[in-house]
Symmetry: C2
Subunit: 222 residues, 2 copies
Protein backbone atom coordinates (compact mmCIF):
# COMPACT_ATOMS: atom_id res chain seq x y z
CA UNK A 1 0.00 0.00 0.00
CA UNK A 2 1.47 3.30 -1.06
CA UNK A 3 -0.32 6.17 0.58
CA UNK A 4 0.86 8.44 -2.22
CA UNK A 5 -1.56 6.77 -4.57
CA UNK A 6 -4.69 7.17 -2.45
CA UNK A 7 -6.94 9.86 -3.96
CA UNK A 8 -7.96 12.66 -1.60
CA UNK A 9 -11.71 11.81 -1.60
CA UNK A 10 -10.81 8.23 -0.58
CA UNK A 11 -8.61 9.54 2.24
CA UNK A 12 -11.57 11.65 3.31
CA UNK A 13 -13.75 8.54 3.42
CA UNK A 14 -11.28 6.37 5.39
CA UNK A 15 -12.63 7.50 8.75
CA UNK A 16 -16.18 6.71 7.69
CA UNK A 17 -15.12 3.26 6.52
CA UNK A 18 -13.39 2.75 9.87
CA UNK A 19 -16.58 3.73 11.71
CA UNK A 20 -18.63 1.49 9.46
CA UNK A 21 -16.39 -1.58 10.01
CA UNK A 22 -16.19 -0.85 13.75
CA UNK A 23 -19.97 -0.87 13.97
CA UNK A 24 -20.20 -4.07 11.92
CA UNK A 25 -17.64 -5.64 14.25
CA UNK A 26 -19.63 -4.64 17.34
CA UNK A 27 -22.73 -6.16 15.70
CA UNK A 28 -20.86 -9.46 15.31
CA UNK A 29 -20.60 -9.34 11.51
CA UNK A 30 -17.44 -11.14 10.27
CA UNK A 31 -17.74 -10.62 6.52
CA UNK A 32 -19.56 -7.89 4.59
CA UNK A 33 -20.24 -7.62 0.86
CA UNK A 34 -19.44 -4.45 -1.06
CA UNK A 35 -23.20 -4.01 -1.47
CA UNK A 36 -23.72 -4.14 2.29
CA UNK A 37 -20.89 -1.67 2.93
CA UNK A 38 -22.12 0.56 0.10
CA UNK A 39 -25.56 0.78 1.67
CA UNK A 40 -24.11 1.76 5.05
CA UNK A 41 -21.85 4.34 3.41
CA UNK A 42 -24.35 5.88 0.99
CA UNK A 43 -22.08 5.05 -1.95
CA UNK A 44 -22.39 2.65 -4.86
CA UNK A 45 -20.76 -0.80 -4.61
CA UNK A 46 -18.29 -0.09 -7.43
CA UNK A 47 -16.94 2.92 -5.53
CA UNK A 48 -16.60 0.83 -2.37
CA UNK A 49 -14.65 -1.87 -4.24
CA UNK A 50 -12.43 0.80 -5.81
CA UNK A 51 -11.79 2.52 -2.46
CA UNK A 52 -11.05 -0.69 -0.58
CA UNK A 53 -8.74 -1.92 -3.34
CA UNK A 54 -6.22 0.66 -2.14
CA UNK A 55 -5.78 -1.26 1.11
CA UNK A 56 -4.92 -4.67 -0.22
CA UNK A 57 -6.94 -7.77 -1.02
CA UNK A 58 -9.44 -8.13 1.74
CA UNK A 59 -12.33 -9.40 -0.34
CA UNK A 60 -12.80 -13.19 -0.36
CA UNK A 61 -14.97 -14.51 -3.13
CA UNK A 62 -18.28 -15.63 -1.76
CA UNK A 63 -17.58 -14.25 1.70
CA UNK A 64 -17.07 -10.54 1.14
CA UNK A 65 -14.67 -8.32 3.05
CA UNK A 66 -13.21 -9.42 6.37
CA UNK A 67 -14.52 -6.84 8.83
CA UNK A 68 -11.71 -7.31 11.38
CA UNK A 69 -8.87 -7.15 8.84
CA UNK A 70 -10.21 -4.01 7.23
CA UNK A 71 -10.89 -2.38 10.58
CA UNK A 72 -7.33 -3.05 11.72
CA UNK A 73 -5.74 -2.05 8.45
CA UNK A 74 -7.62 1.22 8.01
CA UNK A 75 -6.86 2.07 11.62
CA UNK A 76 -3.13 1.57 10.93
CA UNK A 77 -3.30 3.69 7.79
CA UNK A 78 -5.06 6.46 9.70
CA UNK A 79 -2.52 6.19 12.53
CA UNK A 80 -5.27 5.56 15.09
CA UNK A 81 -4.06 2.12 16.20
CA UNK A 82 -2.13 4.02 18.89
CA UNK A 83 -3.38 6.55 21.45
CA UNK A 84 -2.62 10.22 20.79
CA UNK A 85 -2.38 12.66 23.68
CA UNK A 86 -4.00 15.97 22.91
CA UNK A 87 -3.99 19.46 24.41
CA UNK A 88 -6.64 22.14 23.84
CA UNK A 89 -5.34 25.71 23.63
CA UNK A 90 -8.04 28.23 24.54
CA UNK A 91 -10.70 27.29 27.06
CA UNK A 92 -13.49 29.59 25.87
CA UNK A 93 -16.87 28.27 24.70
CA UNK A 94 -15.53 26.14 21.88
CA UNK A 95 -12.43 25.03 23.78
CA UNK A 96 -14.54 23.97 26.75
CA UNK A 97 -16.89 22.06 24.47
CA UNK A 98 -13.93 20.24 22.93
CA UNK A 99 -12.39 19.50 26.33
CA UNK A 100 -15.64 17.78 27.24
CA UNK A 101 -16.37 16.27 23.81
CA UNK A 102 -17.26 12.62 24.30
CA UNK A 103 -16.39 11.51 20.78
CA UNK A 104 -12.58 11.62 20.98
CA UNK A 105 -11.64 9.02 23.59
CA UNK A 106 -13.13 5.95 21.92
CA UNK A 107 -11.39 6.90 18.68
CA UNK A 108 -7.94 6.96 20.28
CA UNK A 109 -7.61 10.64 21.20
CA UNK A 110 -7.01 11.37 24.86
CA UNK A 111 -7.53 14.99 25.80
CA UNK A 112 -4.89 15.45 28.50
CA UNK A 113 -4.64 19.21 29.15
CA UNK A 114 -6.26 22.56 28.46
CA UNK A 115 -4.57 25.98 28.26
CA UNK A 116 -5.88 29.51 28.64
CA UNK A 117 -4.52 33.02 29.18
CA UNK A 118 -7.09 33.80 31.84
CA UNK A 119 -5.45 33.32 35.26
CA UNK A 120 -8.92 32.80 36.72
CA UNK A 121 -9.24 29.51 34.80
CA UNK A 122 -5.95 28.11 36.11
CA UNK A 123 -6.53 24.83 37.91
CA UNK A 124 -10.07 24.37 36.57
CA UNK A 125 -11.00 20.85 35.66
CA UNK A 126 -13.40 20.05 32.84
CA UNK A 127 -14.22 16.36 32.57
CA UNK A 128 -11.12 15.59 34.68
CA UNK A 129 -8.90 17.56 32.32
CA UNK A 130 -6.95 20.32 34.01
CA UNK A 131 -6.61 23.84 32.60
CA UNK A 132 -3.07 25.26 32.75
CA UNK A 133 -1.95 28.81 32.17
CA UNK A 134 -0.65 29.31 28.63
CA UNK A 135 2.74 30.22 30.12
CA UNK A 136 3.14 26.55 31.01
CA UNK A 137 2.51 25.37 27.43
CA UNK A 138 6.00 24.03 26.62
CA UNK A 139 6.44 22.39 30.03
CA UNK A 140 3.10 20.63 29.98
CA UNK A 141 3.55 19.46 26.37
CA UNK A 142 6.85 17.87 27.39
CA UNK A 143 5.68 16.44 30.70
CA UNK A 144 2.38 15.05 29.39
CA UNK A 145 3.95 13.94 26.08
CA UNK A 146 1.28 15.75 24.05
CA UNK A 147 1.61 15.12 20.29
CA UNK A 148 -1.39 17.05 19.01
CA UNK A 149 -2.91 20.38 20.00
CA UNK A 150 -6.30 21.81 19.13
CA UNK A 151 -6.22 25.61 18.83
CA UNK A 152 -9.39 27.54 19.68
CA UNK A 153 -7.80 30.88 20.61
CA UNK A 154 -8.90 34.21 19.12
CA UNK A 155 -7.43 34.77 15.62
CA UNK A 156 -4.90 37.31 16.81
CA UNK A 157 -3.30 34.95 19.30
CA UNK A 158 -2.54 32.20 16.81
CA UNK A 159 0.80 33.45 15.42
CA UNK A 160 2.29 33.61 18.89
CA UNK A 161 1.00 30.13 19.73
CA UNK A 162 2.41 28.65 16.50
CA UNK A 163 5.86 30.16 17.13
CA UNK A 164 5.93 28.57 20.56
CA UNK A 165 4.72 25.20 19.22
CA UNK A 166 7.60 25.11 16.73
CA UNK A 167 9.99 24.73 19.65
CA UNK A 168 8.10 21.69 20.98
CA UNK A 169 7.66 18.12 19.74
CA UNK A 170 4.05 18.69 18.68
CA UNK A 171 3.35 16.72 15.47
CA UNK A 172 -0.07 17.96 14.53
CA UNK A 173 -2.36 20.95 14.96
CA UNK A 174 -6.11 21.00 14.56
CA UNK A 175 -6.87 24.66 14.06
CA UNK A 176 -10.28 26.15 14.87
CA UNK A 177 -8.95 29.67 15.31
CA UNK A 178 -10.38 31.12 12.09
CA UNK A 179 -7.06 32.08 10.50
CA UNK A 180 -5.92 29.62 7.84
CA UNK A 181 -2.58 28.01 8.76
CA UNK A 182 -0.23 26.27 6.35
CA UNK A 183 1.52 23.02 7.33
CA UNK A 184 5.20 23.54 8.07
CA UNK A 185 8.14 21.16 8.47
CA UNK A 186 7.60 21.19 12.21
CA UNK A 187 4.04 19.89 12.23
CA UNK A 188 1.03 19.08 10.11
CA UNK A 189 -1.92 21.45 10.26
CA UNK A 190 -5.55 20.71 9.59
CA UNK A 191 -7.74 23.80 9.49
CA UNK A 192 -11.30 23.42 10.70
CA UNK A 193 -13.38 26.39 9.67
CA UNK A 194 -16.97 26.00 10.76
CA UNK A 195 -18.24 28.69 8.37
CA UNK A 196 -16.49 26.74 5.61
CA UNK A 197 -18.49 23.66 6.57
CA UNK A 198 -21.61 25.82 6.18
CA UNK A 199 -20.42 27.10 2.79
CA UNK A 200 -19.81 23.55 1.58
CA UNK A 201 -23.34 22.78 2.69
CA UNK A 202 -24.85 25.75 0.83
CA UNK A 203 -22.78 24.81 -2.26
CA UNK A 204 -24.54 21.45 -2.34
CA UNK A 205 -27.95 23.01 -1.54
CA UNK A 206 -27.49 25.57 -4.33
CA UNK A 207 -26.20 23.04 -6.86
CA UNK A 208 -28.28 20.15 -5.58
CA UNK A 209 -29.93 19.03 -8.78
CA UNK A 210 -26.74 19.22 -10.79
CA UNK A 211 -24.28 17.69 -8.38
CA UNK A 212 -25.88 15.38 -5.89
CA UNK A 213 -27.13 12.00 -6.90
CA UNK A 214 -26.53 9.98 -3.76
CA UNK A 215 -24.26 9.92 -0.76
CA UNK A 216 -23.67 12.72 1.63
CA UNK A 217 -22.59 16.09 0.39
CA UNK A 218 -19.21 16.03 2.03
CA UNK A 219 -18.09 12.84 0.39
CA UNK A 220 -19.31 13.19 -3.14
CA UNK A 221 -16.72 12.39 -5.76
CA UNK A 222 -16.37 14.50 -8.84
CA UNK B 1 -19.83 27.05 -15.54
CA UNK B 2 -21.15 23.58 -14.96
CA UNK B 3 -20.87 22.64 -11.31
CA UNK B 4 -20.98 18.96 -12.30
CA UNK B 5 -17.50 19.24 -13.65
CA UNK B 6 -15.84 20.76 -10.58
CA UNK B 7 -13.62 18.16 -8.87
CA UNK B 8 -14.33 17.56 -5.17
CA UNK B 9 -10.95 18.90 -3.94
CA UNK B 10 -11.60 22.15 -5.87
CA UNK B 11 -15.05 22.43 -4.30
CA UNK B 12 -13.35 21.93 -0.93
CA UNK B 13 -11.00 24.82 -1.71
CA UNK B 14 -13.67 27.25 -2.89
CA UNK B 15 -14.29 28.62 0.58
CA UNK B 16 -10.57 29.21 1.08
CA UNK B 17 -10.37 31.03 -2.25
CA UNK B 18 -13.34 33.14 -1.19
CA UNK B 19 -11.63 34.04 2.08
CA UNK B 20 -8.40 34.79 0.24
CA UNK B 21 -10.08 37.11 -2.31
CA UNK B 22 -12.14 38.77 0.46
CA UNK B 23 -8.96 39.56 2.36
CA UNK B 24 -7.25 40.88 -0.78
CA UNK B 25 -10.30 43.04 -1.43
CA UNK B 26 -10.18 44.48 2.10
CA UNK B 27 -6.47 45.21 1.57
CA UNK B 28 -7.35 47.26 -1.53
CA UNK B 29 -5.83 44.81 -4.04
CA UNK B 30 -7.68 44.91 -7.40
CA UNK B 31 -5.76 42.30 -9.38
CA UNK B 32 -3.73 39.34 -8.13
CA UNK B 33 -1.43 37.01 -10.08
CA UNK B 34 -1.75 33.24 -9.78
CA UNK B 35 1.62 33.32 -8.02
CA UNK B 36 0.32 35.76 -5.42
CA UNK B 37 -2.85 33.74 -4.84
CA UNK B 38 -0.82 30.50 -4.75
CA UNK B 39 1.39 31.86 -2.01
CA UNK B 40 -1.61 32.89 0.10
CA UNK B 41 -3.24 29.49 -0.46
CA UNK B 42 -0.19 27.28 0.06
CA UNK B 43 -0.65 25.76 -3.42
CA UNK B 44 1.40 25.93 -6.58
CA UNK B 45 0.44 28.52 -9.25
CA UNK B 46 -0.49 25.83 -11.82
CA UNK B 47 -3.05 24.38 -9.40
CA UNK B 48 -4.49 27.84 -8.78
CA UNK B 49 -4.85 28.49 -12.53
CA UNK B 50 -6.47 25.08 -12.97
CA UNK B 51 -8.89 25.62 -10.07
CA UNK B 52 -9.87 29.14 -11.13
CA UNK B 53 -10.36 28.04 -14.73
CA UNK B 54 -13.56 26.30 -13.59
CA UNK B 55 -15.13 29.67 -12.87
CA UNK B 56 -14.65 31.37 -16.19
CA UNK B 57 -12.03 33.65 -17.62
CA UNK B 58 -11.10 36.02 -14.85
CA UNK B 59 -7.41 36.29 -15.60
CA UNK B 60 -6.35 39.29 -17.70
CA UNK B 61 -2.95 39.03 -19.26
CA UNK B 62 -0.50 41.32 -17.48
CA UNK B 63 -3.02 42.20 -14.75
CA UNK B 64 -3.81 38.88 -13.13
CA UNK B 65 -7.16 37.89 -11.68
CA UNK B 66 -9.80 40.48 -10.86
CA UNK B 67 -10.24 40.19 -7.11
CA UNK B 68 -13.79 41.60 -7.06
CA UNK B 69 -15.09 39.45 -9.94
CA UNK B 70 -13.72 36.27 -8.45
CA UNK B 71 -14.98 37.12 -4.98
CA UNK B 72 -18.47 37.71 -6.32
CA UNK B 73 -18.47 34.68 -8.58
CA UNK B 74 -17.21 32.21 -6.01
CA UNK B 75 -19.72 33.59 -3.53
CA UNK B 76 -22.53 32.91 -6.03
CA UNK B 77 -21.26 29.40 -6.69
CA UNK B 78 -21.12 28.68 -2.97
CA UNK B 79 -24.58 30.15 -2.48
CA UNK B 80 -23.29 32.66 0.07
CA UNK B 81 -24.28 35.80 -1.86
CA UNK B 82 -27.53 35.62 0.12
CA UNK B 83 -28.08 35.39 3.88
CA UNK B 84 -29.04 32.02 5.30
CA UNK B 85 -31.03 31.81 8.53
CA UNK B 86 -29.83 29.04 10.79
CA UNK B 87 -31.13 27.21 13.87
CA UNK B 88 -29.04 25.24 16.35
CA UNK B 89 -30.68 22.11 17.77
CA UNK B 90 -29.19 21.16 21.13
CA UNK B 91 -27.90 23.88 23.45
CA UNK B 92 -25.31 21.84 25.37
CA UNK B 93 -21.60 22.74 25.38
CA UNK B 94 -21.08 22.46 21.66
CA UNK B 95 -24.47 23.95 20.78
CA UNK B 96 -23.85 26.94 23.03
CA UNK B 97 -20.40 27.45 21.50
CA UNK B 98 -21.96 27.43 18.02
CA UNK B 99 -24.77 29.79 19.07
CA UNK B 100 -22.08 32.25 20.13
CA UNK B 101 -19.57 31.47 17.35
CA UNK B 102 -18.41 34.75 15.87
CA UNK B 103 -17.32 33.37 12.52
CA UNK B 104 -20.74 32.74 10.94
CA UNK B 105 -22.33 36.17 10.61
CA UNK B 106 -19.70 37.81 8.39
CA UNK B 107 -19.87 34.81 6.07
CA UNK B 108 -23.62 35.14 5.52
CA UNK B 109 -24.99 32.77 8.17
CA UNK B 110 -27.36 34.31 10.68
CA UNK B 111 -27.95 32.14 13.73
CA UNK B 112 -31.58 32.95 14.51
CA UNK B 113 -32.74 30.39 17.08
CA UNK B 114 -31.60 27.63 19.41
CA UNK B 115 -33.55 24.57 20.56
CA UNK B 116 -33.20 22.27 23.53
CA UNK B 117 -35.23 19.63 25.37
CA UNK B 118 -34.36 21.08 28.77
CA UNK B 119 -37.31 23.23 29.91
CA UNK B 120 -34.88 25.13 32.18
CA UNK B 121 -33.14 26.57 29.10
CA UNK B 122 -36.37 27.89 27.58
CA UNK B 123 -36.16 31.62 27.03
CA UNK B 124 -32.38 31.77 27.53
CA UNK B 125 -30.55 34.13 25.25
CA UNK B 126 -27.00 33.46 24.07
CA UNK B 127 -25.54 36.31 22.06
CA UNK B 128 -29.09 37.65 21.50
CA UNK B 129 -30.25 34.31 20.12
CA UNK B 130 -33.19 32.84 21.95
CA UNK B 131 -33.43 29.19 23.02
CA UNK B 132 -36.80 27.58 22.32
CA UNK B 133 -38.12 24.28 23.56
CA UNK B 134 -37.68 21.54 20.97
CA UNK B 135 -41.48 21.14 20.90
CA UNK B 136 -41.62 24.46 19.06
CA UNK B 137 -39.19 23.33 16.33
CA UNK B 138 -41.61 23.28 13.37
CA UNK B 139 -43.31 26.53 14.39
CA UNK B 140 -40.08 28.45 14.86
CA UNK B 141 -38.58 27.12 11.59
CA UNK B 142 -41.66 28.40 9.76
CA UNK B 143 -41.95 31.71 11.58
CA UNK B 144 -38.23 32.56 11.45
CA UNK B 145 -37.85 31.18 7.90
CA UNK B 146 -34.90 29.00 8.92
CA UNK B 147 -33.33 27.17 5.97
CA UNK B 148 -30.45 25.39 7.71
CA UNK B 149 -30.17 23.67 11.07
CA UNK B 150 -27.07 22.60 12.95
CA UNK B 151 -27.65 19.44 15.00
CA UNK B 152 -25.64 18.99 18.21
CA UNK B 153 -28.02 16.69 20.09
CA UNK B 154 -26.92 13.39 21.64
CA UNK B 155 -26.66 10.59 19.05
CA UNK B 156 -29.84 8.88 20.13
CA UNK B 157 -31.99 11.95 19.58
CA UNK B 158 -31.02 12.47 15.96
CA UNK B 159 -33.46 10.08 14.27
CA UNK B 160 -36.41 11.80 15.90
CA UNK B 161 -35.09 15.23 14.94
CA UNK B 162 -34.56 14.19 11.30
CA UNK B 163 -38.10 12.81 11.00
CA UNK B 164 -39.48 16.12 12.24
CA UNK B 165 -37.24 18.13 9.90
CA UNK B 166 -38.55 16.20 6.89
CA UNK B 167 -41.93 17.85 7.42
CA UNK B 168 -40.39 21.33 7.34
CA UNK B 169 -38.82 23.45 4.60
CA UNK B 170 -35.27 22.99 5.94
CA UNK B 171 -32.86 22.71 3.00
CA UNK B 172 -29.65 21.75 4.74
CA UNK B 173 -28.39 20.08 7.90
CA UNK B 174 -24.95 20.45 9.42
CA UNK B 175 -24.68 17.42 11.65
CA UNK B 176 -22.37 17.34 14.68
CA UNK B 177 -24.34 14.63 16.46
CA UNK B 178 -21.84 11.81 15.92
CA UNK B 179 -24.12 9.54 13.91
CA UNK B 180 -23.44 9.65 10.19
CA UNK B 181 -26.49 10.89 8.25
CA UNK B 182 -27.10 10.38 4.54
CA UNK B 183 -28.52 13.20 2.41
CA UNK B 184 -32.15 12.63 1.47
CA UNK B 185 -34.48 14.19 -1.08
CA UNK B 186 -35.76 16.51 1.59
CA UNK B 187 -32.48 18.16 2.49
CA UNK B 188 -28.73 18.03 2.04
CA UNK B 189 -26.65 16.78 4.97
CA UNK B 190 -23.06 17.59 5.76
CA UNK B 191 -21.63 15.49 8.58
CA UNK B 192 -19.06 17.14 10.81
CA UNK B 193 -17.28 14.55 12.89
CA UNK B 194 -14.61 16.11 15.06
CA UNK B 195 -12.85 12.80 15.71
CA UNK B 196 -12.74 12.35 11.94
CA UNK B 197 -10.93 15.68 11.64
CA UNK B 198 -8.41 14.30 14.14
CA UNK B 199 -8.08 11.06 12.17
CA UNK B 200 -7.43 12.96 8.97
CA UNK B 201 -4.74 14.85 10.87
CA UNK B 202 -3.10 11.67 12.16
CA UNK B 203 -3.27 10.19 8.64
CA UNK B 204 -1.15 13.06 7.38
CA UNK B 205 1.17 12.91 10.43
CA UNK B 206 1.65 9.16 9.95
CA UNK B 207 2.14 9.40 6.18
CA UNK B 208 3.81 12.81 6.25
CA UNK B 209 6.93 12.06 4.26
CA UNK B 210 5.08 10.18 1.57
CA UNK B 211 2.07 12.40 1.08
CA UNK B 212 2.64 15.97 2.12
CA UNK B 213 4.75 18.26 0.04
CA UNK B 214 3.08 21.60 0.57
CA UNK B 215 -0.31 23.04 1.39
CA UNK B 216 -2.43 22.11 4.32
CA UNK B 217 -3.33 18.52 4.99
CA UNK B 218 -7.01 18.93 4.36
CA UNK B 219 -6.62 20.34 0.90
CA UNK B 220 -3.93 18.23 -0.63
CA UNK B 221 -4.77 16.83 -4.03
CA UNK B 222 -3.99 13.27 -4.89
Amino acid sequence: MNSKKIPAPTVGRLSIYLKCFSELSVSGVDYASSGHVAKLMGLNPAQVRKDLAYFGKFGRRGYGYSVESLKENISKILGTHKEWKVGVIGAGNLGSALLMYGGFMNRGFKIAAGFDVDPAKLGWELNNVRIFHIDELENVIKREKLEIVIITTPKDAITGVVERLKKTRIKGVLNFAGRHLISADDFVVRNVDLALEMEQLTFFITNKDGVLKEGSAGEKDE
